[in-house]
């Protein structure tokens, strides 16, 4: 079944999460996000997000000899990602707990 909440995924968060372990260029980010997080980022969305994150100092471009310029997460970006991940963990924990009560999930 198509994930009906997929369109609500937060693209800036996905990009920050993708860059958390290593620098990547645009295509590598879309591949990584699709494979590990199950969300397809379009080219327009990805570069709108990259422009915003770069303007806010959360990611920075690295030198590149070709058109595939890699980006890396900055210290401010890592901190923002950590804070948001913490919030999401709490939301996920509450959601699992309440769904467990409702649906009878084991280990909720």
């Amino acid at each position: 079944m198509t994930d009906r909440l997929d369109r609500w995924a937060d693209p800036p968060l996905l990009v920050l999460a993708s860059l958390a372990d290593a620098p990547k260029h645009g295509y590598a980010i879309t591949q990584d996000v699709a494979e590990t997080m199950g969300v397809r980022l379009s080219a327009g969305t990805l570069y709108a997000v990259i422009a915003r994150l770069e303007a806010r100092g959360l990611i920075e471009p690295l030198e590149s000899d070709d058109r595939r310029r890699p980006y890396r997460i900055t210290a401010a970006g890592a901190e923002a990602l950590a804070q948001q991940s913490e919030r999401m963990s709490k939301v996920a924990s509450v959601a699992r707990e309440r769904l467990g009560t409702r649906l009878g999930w084991a280990g909720a």
Binding site: H25, G26, Y27, A43, G44, Y47, A48, A51, A55, R67
Partner: protein, 286 residues
């Protein structure tokens, strides 16, 4: 190695973005579309995101921001000054007053003083930058750039010579017809645009930096602020004329006055915003 040409649809989608965005991310988007196969849906997603990009385009370096702001502010300032001179020609120079309404006379005085002050500030603040660019154009034998730099002098002189010659031919006992007045006015705006475009082109080609550029950008901000007061004088005067000098044809026509005021306010806003951006870049910490 030469890069493969992007498909026309992709080029069209990227053309929707601001130039600074294209310069910064255009190649990367092309690479991504090339790597991912870039079908029509992907290209459409690029086009779809173009509009928001205009609201927050990537900022270039400070000198580039100052030069771009100066060129834009100079052009819109010239248009505003042209609109102001049309206002002066059709009001003050016709001796239009409204007995019992001194605000009209005050508006004339505010306009006269602030227009002169704004031009003086812009001229004095921009002179070192103009001389800097002229010296470089001469040193490097850049004739075209030298011509661009002299356009603020050449274009008005050419216009005034043309105006003097034409006036003798077309003026009747009651002055010139409305049609000729319109033509002369349009030619004046064309001359003002040409005069302003010259230094703007020289700024883009010579790319000056340093204290002279910062001084010019700062002076442009001050000049624009003073010019905004002049625009305020125009607005007060035109509204006063519309309300209290109805016996003269033209001043009771709300549509004509409204269009004129909309042009004045638009030019004032563009001038102020552009100049403020340049001044902010000039005053920002490096």
């Amino acid at each position: 190695m030469s890069r493969p040409a992007a498909p026309p649809l992709t080029r069209a989608a990227l053309a929707l973005y601001p130039p600074s965005w294209r310069a910064r991310y255009g190649d990367e988007v092309l690479a991504l579309l090339g790597d991912s196969g870039g079908g029509p849906v992907a290209v459409a997603s690029v086009a779809w995101r173009a509009l928001p990009a205009w609201f927050s385009p990537p900022l270039p370096d400070r000198p580039t921001r100052m030069r771009a702001s100066l060129a834009t502010a100079l052009m819109s300032w010239s248009m505003l000054a042209g609109l102001g001179l049309v206002f002066a020609q059709l009001t003050q120079l016709q001796g239009l007053t409204a007995p019992g309404h001194p605000e009209l006379r005050w508006a004339y005085a505010v306009f006269d003083v602030t227009l002169a002050a704004s031009a003086l500030i812009a001229g004095l603040g921009g002179l070192p930058l103009w001389l800097l660019m002229l010296r470089r154009a001469r040193r490097e034998h850049r004739v075209r750039d030298a011509v661009y730099l002299f356009l603020p002098l050449l274009a008005p002189v050419a216009y005034l010579i043309g105006l003097a010659g034409t006036a003798r031919l077309v003026a009747g006992p009651n002055g010139v017809s409305q049609g000729w007045f319109g033509a002369v006015t349009l030619a004046g705006f064309a001359a003002a645009a040409t005069a302003a475009a010259g230094p703007g082109l020289a700024l883009r080609r010579l790319q000056p930096r340093g204290p002279a550029l910062r001084l010019a950008a700062t002076a442009a901000g001050l000049s624009a602020a003073v010019m905004a007061v002049a625009a305020g004088g125009i607005v007060v005067a035109v509204i006063s004329l519309n309300l209290w000098v109805r016996q003269f044809p033209g001043y009771h026509d709300g549509t004509v006055s409204g269009i004129y005021l909309a042009l004045v306010v638009s030019a004032a806003v563009v001038t102020t915003v552009s100049a403020a951006r340049g001044t902010r870049a000039a005053l920002a910490q490096p």
